[in-house]
Amino acid sequence: MLFKKGLFSKRRQMNEEMSLQITSMADIFTIILVFLLKSYATGAVNLAPTKGMLIPEANASAPASEALKVEISEKAVQVEGNPAAVLGAFRFEPSDLQGGGISKSLSTVLDRERKRQILIASHNADVKVDPKIIIVADKRTPYETVKTVLASAAVHGYTDFKLAVIKGD
């Protein structure tokens, strides 16, 4: 009985003095945090493709700069995140196409964007009408669809194409 009591009191004393060694944990967390901060994709441009899109991979040294963003996915073409034209299996509806391989609905949206840019530029000397356009397209997109988007953009003065890719090694 005396022995049991002594052992119990010793264990309780150990529990009271035990403290977690969290210094090493703090070190690990610091390293993880630094790594995450370094690899965190930050920049002036937010190019977040739609879920399920397969962006092609390439060695691209040029960073993305601010420009009008057009995304071509399986079911739609989006301009600045807003749906502009409906696609069916990466292809435009035949009724949406007009002479010169231009999409009517996409052309309407791009025209609106262009007019907005011109209006801003006319009121603010620091803003220039920009011919840049960033194309974020799924790698399965047929060239005819890409051509239609590029032609529709070129008609409205967007002639400096930037093709968004996932940076390779």
Binding site: A26, F29, A41, I72, D138, T141, D160, A164, V165
Partner: protein
Amino acid sequence: MSSVSSPGGGGGGGLDFELNLASIIDCFTVLITFMLASATFLSIGVLDAGIAAGGAEAASQQPPPVNITIELRKDMSVSVKVSGKENRSQTITAKNGGRDLESLVSQLGAVKSRWSSVNAAILQAENGVEYGELVKTMEAVRKNMPAVMLGGF
């Protein structure tokens, strides 16, 4: 826990305290969780591509001695056309079921060695060719021709 003692050590009334790291750990845990949830580990870059059609800017520049047009075909072959001071056309056939981009690079290298001032090529494709193929070819072409313009429209 980290503890700090006074330099003299041992003496009565020394500064012996422990840093409270628990709150820092809490903060780090929240930050790491947030960053892991929101981080996209894919870095997105851009490939520059102009338009093959001229415009006022292009018209003011000196035309190159030769124009190079590369066309991707659905049967995985690649056609290279050189026009201007040198006229020739060559088709690079498919290799191992894919496009023979190594041959394309060497072809363009040969043209570049003859016409060093040529820096641009026009890249176009047949309708059914996938965009991914176009980007791959563009990457290969850029090894010799830094300016790649998209054509065919």
